[in-house]
């Protein structure tokens, strides 16, 4: 073993990682390019919208409800250390709309949707259904990826908006029933403190996270290996990549929105 061997290992790993980033970027560019070029598949888009948006409502809603409640308890306990219990409504609102609503909503959708898209498309690849699409003069990217990515980009902000409302309601329920807040005062503090951009920034984040989730599901599904193990690995990679990219994109967007 030569002295340069470890460097070669690092170099190889770096090139592999860069190649993967390049492939994903090219895939994303191809999907975006096909968004604006016919043929369009409205039926597949509507189906994806129901699968990704409507059917994710329970899991996103429950996550937001419990998170809002826990957040109220934590802020109350923390605020009590310097007599700032009154900030509970405003911090719950800002915490849910700016951060927890979009990030937790995005993660729950990643777990539910990225895995399902990757498994479905991966199985289609393994069973030659994607080859069959090509022989039937249908572009697989256009038919499979574009409707899903578009649906997720539209559906996740709506899920985030619903999640924000339920999360704030969860905080209100805990605040009123467990922490003895006056209901009207709690709601007034929430509404008075909240600004449009608190909600708006979360919705923009939601759109970005939706795009990431569906893109990762489609990319890993279409590049799935052979057999059950290949599909399993594609599913796992889709969820991990979507989750990590959500955190990275969240930091980046927070820097852009709130530090200037």
């Amino acid at each position: 073993m030569t002295v340069t061997a470890p460097l070669a290992v690092v170099g190889r790993a770096s090139f592999t990682a860069l190649a993967a980033v390049g492939r994903i970027a090219l895939f994303a560019a191809a999907v975006v390019g096909h968004l604006f070029r016919p043929p369009f598949y409205p039926k597949e888009f509507l189906h994806a919208l129901i699968q990704i948006g409507w059917l994710s409502l329970p899991v996103v809603g429950l996550t937001a409800l419990f998170t809002g409640g826990a957040l109220a308890l934590q802020i109350y306990a923390g605020g009590a250390r310097f007599s700032a219990e009154a900030v509970v409504p405003s911090i719950v609102a800002i915490g849910m709309t700016r951060e927890l609503g979009p990030v937790l909503g995005g993660l729950m959708v990643a777990a539910r949707v990225a895995s399902s898209i990757a498994a479905e498309i991966g199985t289609m690849k393994v069973t030659e259904q994607i080859d069959a699409l090509v022989t039937l003069s249908t572009h697989p990217l256009k038919y499979l990826a574009v409707p899903r990515v578009l649906a997720a980009t539209i559906a996740v902000p709506v899920l985030v908006a619903v999640g924000d409302s339920i999360g704030i309601a969860g905080g209100w329920a805990v605040g009123v029933n467990r922490l003895d807040f006056n209901s009207a005062t709690y709601l007034k503090n929430t509404v008075d403190f909240l600004e449009f951009w608190d909600v708006g920034s979360g919705l923009v984040k939601g759109a970005a996270f939706g795009f990431i989730v569906a893109l990762m599901g489609c990319y890993h599904g279409m590049n799935s290996g052979r057999g059950a193990q290949g599909v399993g690995r594609a599913t796992k990679s889709a969820v991990v990549a979507a989750s990590v990219l959500i955190f990275a994109a969240n930091y980046l967007l927070t820097e852009i929105f709130f530090t200037s």
Binding site: P39, Y41, H47, M124, T127, E128, Q129, D131, A132, V134, T135, L136, S137, T138
Partner: protein, 248 residues
């Protein structure tokens, strides 16, 4: 006519096709035989453009397939995949009419359904299966639906990838007969890949044997049993001893 000359394809260090030269006449049925892993499926996928060959030329009626306009080129083909490759999320009739419901050959939905029902009838399936999903069908029925989908848009060229794999001998016989009848009736050019010698005798006008990435032998099906080629003889009689290694 489909004409392949010097077609090569490698996957890394695995040289699957090492210079394929083959002619398939129009309106004839060519069956390609050969052991597992000899590149039969890759050959069909190269012709369809699902896999891009590393070298050589593939001509369809004198036109290079790499330069053909993709949609109109693919509209000339139908393909029956080994596992059927039916779309799980679509009903049987929507699978059959897939090409007729979208793209250049799009028809009104009622008309597309009527054509799908007619094609299903042609492969021996009644209208009661039209609204089922593929998962609700047996393997043999899925193959028939795949066959109905392959012929739905009346293609000039039909590819059959292991059409009888996984079927019992009776159902395999039914599928072989259907393929022969449909190809003759439509006047289509057919290319089939199979290991099943019963299928070869039922479907083929001509046979080509693929071995180690090259066409080892080709000729009319009538000469298959009389050719002295030891590779062909070992393969068609299923002998373990001979020039083809049993363990590959």
């Amino acid at each position: 006519m489909i004409e392949l000359s010097g077609v090569t394809k490698s996957f890394g260090q695995n040289h699957v096709l090492r210079g394929i030269d083959l002619k398939v006449d129009s309106n004839s049925s060519m069956v390609i035989i050969g052991g597992s892993g000899t590149g039969k499926s890759v050959l069909l996928k190269c012709i369809l453009g699902l896999v891009h060959p590393d070298g050589g030329r593939i001509l369809l009626d004198g036109q290079d397939v790499e330069q053909a306009e993709r949609d109109s080129f693919l509209a000339r083909f139908g393909m029956l995949f080994q596992g059927g490759a039916l779309f799980d999320s679509l009903r049987v009739w929507e699978n059959v009419a897939f090409r007729l419901l979208r793209g250049a050959q799009k028809r009104p939905r009622d008309e597309a359904r009527a054509i799908a029902l007619e094609k299903l009838r042609r492969v021996g399936l009644g209208p009661q299966v039209a609204d089922l999903y593929p998962a609700e069908l047996s393997g043999g029925m899925q193959k028939r639906v795949g066959l109905a989908r392959a012929i739905a848009a009346e293609p000039e060229v039909i590819f059959f990838d292991e059409p009888t794999a996984g079927l019992d001998p009776i159902m395999a016989g039914v599928i072989n007969d259907l393929i022969r009848e449909i190809v003759t009736e439509m006047g289509a050019t057919a290319m089939t890949i199979t290991h099943d010698m019963t299928s070869v005798r039922a479907i083929a006008d001509h046979v080509a044997m693929l071995h180690r990435g090259k066409i080892r032998w080709t000729g009319p099906v009538a000469e298959l049993d009389t050719t002295p080629d030891p590779y062909v003889q070992q393969f068609i009689h299923g002998r373990a001893e001979g020039p083809i290694e049993a363990l590959r």
